[in-house]
Symmetry: C2
Subunit: 245 residues, 2 copies
C-alpha cells in the first residue's frame, strides 16, 4: 500500500469541523467521499488536527493508504475536481509507509484574527472575531510574550481535552497590527491543547480591553486554573496555518 499525504485548505464556515460526525457535514467526510469516488473503494483519511466548527485551515494535513497507481502529486488535481469549492487539496505527495499525519507532526502554526471596529465587518464576518471596544494593542503585545517557552498550559485547555500532560512549548507568539483594523496573533508551538489558541486569544482580548492586566498573565499561566483565563474566543477567527514534520 502507498501512503499519500494531503495538504488541505478550507473555509470552515459551512462545515461542522474536520472530524466525521453523525448528522453533520464535515471536511473529513467530504474528502473521504471524494477519495472513494476517485478510487472506487471506501478510503479513510487520518487528519492531524480536529479543527472545530467554523475554524479555517490553510495547511491541514491528512494521510491515507491506497493500492492505486495514481502518482502522489496527481491526487490534488483529481480530488479538487470532486470537492466543493471551499475545500481544496493544495498539495499531495507520496510519503514513507510510517508517515502519520498526527503522530509524525513536530509542531503547528496557528493564526487568530481580531477585527477591532465599531461595526462588524461585511468581508471578515466569518473570518475574524469582532471586538467593538478599542483594544490596547501595546498591552496585548506585551502580554503575548509571557506565553512563549515551555509551560503547563492547564489553564488554557477546554474541558473535553484528553491528554496525559498539559505541558506544551510555544516557540513564538507574535501580535501584529494589520491594515483595515485587524489584529493578528500568530503562534507556533510543539502542540496545542483543546481550544488552547482560542483561550489564549480570549485572554489577550481581555488584556486589550483592560479586563486583565498584562502583568496578570504569568500568574494565570502558573495558576493552572481555567476559570482565571479569558473566554474562549470564537472559532471563526482561527486559522490552522501550517503543520511541521
Amino acid at each position: 500500500m502507498r501512503n499519500i499525504k494531503l495538504t488541505i485548505e478550507y473555509e470552515g464556515t459551512n462545515y461542522h469541523g474536520w472530524q466525521v460526525q453523525k448528522n453533520a457535514v464535515t471536511v473529513q467526510e467530504c474528502i473521504e467521499k471524494a477519495l472513494s469516488r476517485l478510487l472506487g473503494e471506501k478510503t479513510g483519511v487520518v487528519g492531524c488536527s480536529r479543527t472545530d466548527v467554523g475554524v479555517h485551515a490553510y495547511g491541514q494535513v491528512a494521510h491515507f493508504f491506497t493500492a492505486s497507481a495514481i502518482p502522489g502529486e496527481k491526487f490534488s488535481y483529481a480530488l479538487n475536481n470532486l470537492l466543493p469549492a471551499d475545500i481544496v487539496i493544495q498539495k499531495s505527495e507520496e510519503e514513507p509507509e510510517n508517515f502519520h499525519a498526527r503522530y509524525s507532526s513536530k509542531g503547528k502554526r496557528y493564526r487568530y484574527l481580531i477585527c477591532n471596529t465599531a461595526h462588524q465587518s461585511a468581508l471578515m464576518r466569518n473570518r475574524a472575531c469582532h471586538v467593538r471596544p478599542e483594544l490596547d494593542f501595546e498591552q496585548m503585545r506585551k502580554a503575548a510574550e509571557h506565553f512563549e517557552g515551555e509551560h503547563d498550559f492547564a489553564a488554557f485547555q477546554a474541558t473535553g481535552g484528553q491528554v496525559r500532560s498539559t505541558v506544551r512549548e510555544i516557540y513564538s507568539m507574535a501580535v501584529k497590527r494589520r491594515e483595515d483594523s485587524l489584529i493578528e496573533l500568530e503562534v507556533t508551538g510543539s502542540g496545542f491543547l483543546y481550544n488552547m489558541v482560542r483561550i489564549i486569544a480570549g485572554t489577550l482580548i481581555y488584556v486589550g480591553m483592560g479586563k486583565l492586566a498584562e502583568s496578570d498573565v504569568p500568574g494565570i499561566i502558573r495558576g493552572l486554573d481555567r476559570t482565571k483565563a479569558g473566554k474562549t474566543a470564537p472559532a471563526q477567527g482561527l486559522y490552522l496555518m501550517e503543520i511541521y514534520y
Copy 2:
C-alpha cells in the same frame, strides 16, 4: 432636508453590483429598502461608484436626503440592524446640503488581488483572481510604474463607458507581494473609466505571464486601442477601498 453620507463595506459575491436593476438583488436596493423601513417613506440613495457584480467594497460612499431627526452618526447602527450581514454601514454622518457622493469625490483608491497558486484558494475563491502560471513579480512591478501620471486611458476602458474625456490621472500604483501567494495591486487616482482597474490588472497579469513585455506598456497606453491591452481581469479580485472628498 438633511444630507446624510454613508460609508459602506460589502462583500459583492451575492449581489448584482451596486446599481438598482430589475430582476436582480443589488447593494443599492438593499440599502434603500432598509432606509425605507427605518424612515417609513421611500428613500433613494446616490452612490459614488457603480461597482459590478462580484466586486467588493471597504469604502463605497452614498448620500441621501431625509427630514428625519435621527442624528447623522446613528444611522449606521439603525441600518445595520436591518441589513444583511454582507452589507455594513461603517460610518454615517451629516454633510452640507451640497455634498454629492459622486460629484464631490476628488479621487478613489482600488485594490486588486491575484492569487498565484497551482490550485484555486478555498478561502480566497470569491476574493481574488486565481492565476495558475507563476507570475514574474518584478516585471509586473516595473510595468505598473508606466501607469502613474496623467494619461489618456482610452485603451483601458470597456465598451459601455459614457464619458466625454478618457484622460485620468493615476496618483500612485503599487504592486506588492503578500504572504500566502497573493499579489496586491493598489491604485489611487482622480477617477477611473469603466472597468479601467480590471483592464490594468489584466494587462499586468499578461506581463507577469510573459504574454506582454513590461516595455510594451507605454505603447499600449499611447495607442488608445482597447484590443492591445490585456483581458479584463475578473470582478471578484476588485475592492473599492476608499473615496476621497
